[in-house]
């Protein structure tokens, strides 16, 4: 009898706990839904502006540092002469680099072109084919870059991105106003455009405008 009572209590407890609806939601949010969604879109474009471009500029700055101090590249680059000599091309050859295989070509004085055609991961689950060309010109407080590229993702989705080719201001300035190490997107000024496609159909066109002030950028959709 005692065994049956204990067993019954255990079953009742299990029933009661299981009958409560579980919250299986992966992510909750607070605040306006539209703003929440737009922040997703903005976050995606930040991955281009912040991750791709700054990784490329990091590699360029590393190449210049190696060239300045006249040291061997330690196997990080395949080199051909000084990276400051017009026409010379260095290739990133480092398995631990996000941009392994990227080439850096000197266009002339203080001007370089970076080209990449490979897989680039925003996260470990989003390692998708990415192609880009970046022209970077050294300016007083950092870099002025023009960018054109594309990314092909799952489900037939792809995007093309650029810094406004055909517009009056077709560049973004990456400013390093505090000096020292590279500071990233907080100090960017310019506009980044993106077209999203599913198959051949355009599903969205967006723009991220950087004012040049730290943390200040605005996201626009449906252009």
């Amino acid at each position: 009898m005692k065994k049956i009572s204990l067993f019954s209590i255990a079953i009742i407890v299990l029933f009661a706990s299981a009958c409560t609806k579980g919250d299986w939601l992966g992510d909750n949010y607070v605040g306006g839904r539209s703003a929440f969604y737009n922040s997703d879109g903005k976050s995606y474009m930040m991955n281009i502006a912040d991750n791709i471009v700054t990784d490329a500029l990091d590699e360029l700055e590393l190449a210049l540092l190696v060239d300045n101090i006249g040291s061997q590249s330690g196997g990080h680059f395949i080199t051909s002469g000084s990276i400051r000599t017009e026409g010379s091309k260095w290739t990133v050859k480092a398995d631990d680099s996000m941009l392994n295989g990227m080439t850096i070509t000197c266009n002339g004085e203080n001007s370089w072109k970076m080209q990449f055609d490979g897989k680039y991961a925003f996260t470990s689950d989003t390692n998708y084919p990415t192609v880009f060309d970046i022209n970077a010109v050294q300016i007083e407080e950092g870099w002025r870059i023009t960018l054109g590229g594309s990314r092909t993702e799952r489900g037939g989705y792809s995007c093309e991105f650029n810094t406004g080719s055909g517009t009056d201001v077709d560049y973004i300035d990456y400013l390093n106003i505090y000096g020292g190490d590279f500071k990233g997107w907080n100090f960017m000024k310019g506009e980044l455009y993106m077209i999203v496609r599913k198959g051949d159909a355009v599903v969205d066109a967006c723009c991220l405008v950087f004012s040049g002030n730290p943390g200040s950028s605005t996201y626009h959709r449906g252009l």
Binding site: W24, G26, D40, G41, F122, T126, E153, Y157
Partner: protein
């Protein structure tokens, strides 16, 4: 007429006497329904275009409630049916897609005739398996085909306790539920 009724009553009484403990009724609760596992897509990445532009199902799932009845033919075979009810609700987020967000609600009822095979055990622990095939009917906000085929396989189930009243736990796989469920059983 009276003779016919008397004959019927006597026959029924004899059947009940003969059929003692041959009827088996069980009530179960299970975790996530198969519909929920297929439809809820959990976390939507901000680094993936498909996650941002395709509909995202953010759902809650209630437990699947199941009632089974079996008639025991012999020491290893019982035949009967299971009835299950499951529900889920939540929202479809279109995020950066062209539509507004939508409410989502779905209730599913399934009725599956099934066969139960007792593998071993006659004491307080008894092992069995089941196979079931039947139909399921769904209602709700986004149901394209209300009526559908349903199946379930239970490779391993365990009964523990007495022969009158006992606990049940089973691992099952199919279009009603994937995973396990627990419950109580009663023989009469």
């Amino acid at each position: 007429m009276k003779r016919i009724i008397l004959f019927f009553c006597v026959s029924l009484f004899a059947f009940c006497l003969n059929a003692q403990n041959r009827h088996e009724l069980s009530v179960f609760i299970g975790g996530e329904s198969t519909d929920f596992i297929k439809q809820d897509d959990g976390y939507a990445s901000r680094e993936d275009l498909m996650d941002m532009y395709e509909p995202h199902y953010a759902l809650n799932c209630g437990p699947v409630l199941t009632v089974t009845y079996h008639y025991t033919f012999n020491s290893w075979l019982s035949v009967g049916s299971q009835f299950s009810y499951g529900s889920m609700d939540g929202e479809i987020w279109h995020k950066l897609g062209s539509k507004q967000d939508e409410d989502f609600r779905k209730e599913t009822y399934s009725l599956l005739p099934e066969a139960k095979f007792r593998y071993c055990g006659k004491g307080h622990l008894r092992l069995y398996g089941k196979t079931a095939i039947g139909l399921k009917y769904s209602t709700g906000t986004h149901v394209d085909k209300p009526l559908g085929f349903a199946w379930e396989v239970t490779p391993a189930g365990l009964e523990w306790g007495g022969h009158k009243f006992y606990g049940v736990a089973e691992f099952c796989w199919g279009s009603v539920i994937r995973g396990g469920r627990i419950g109580v059983g009663f023989n009469f």
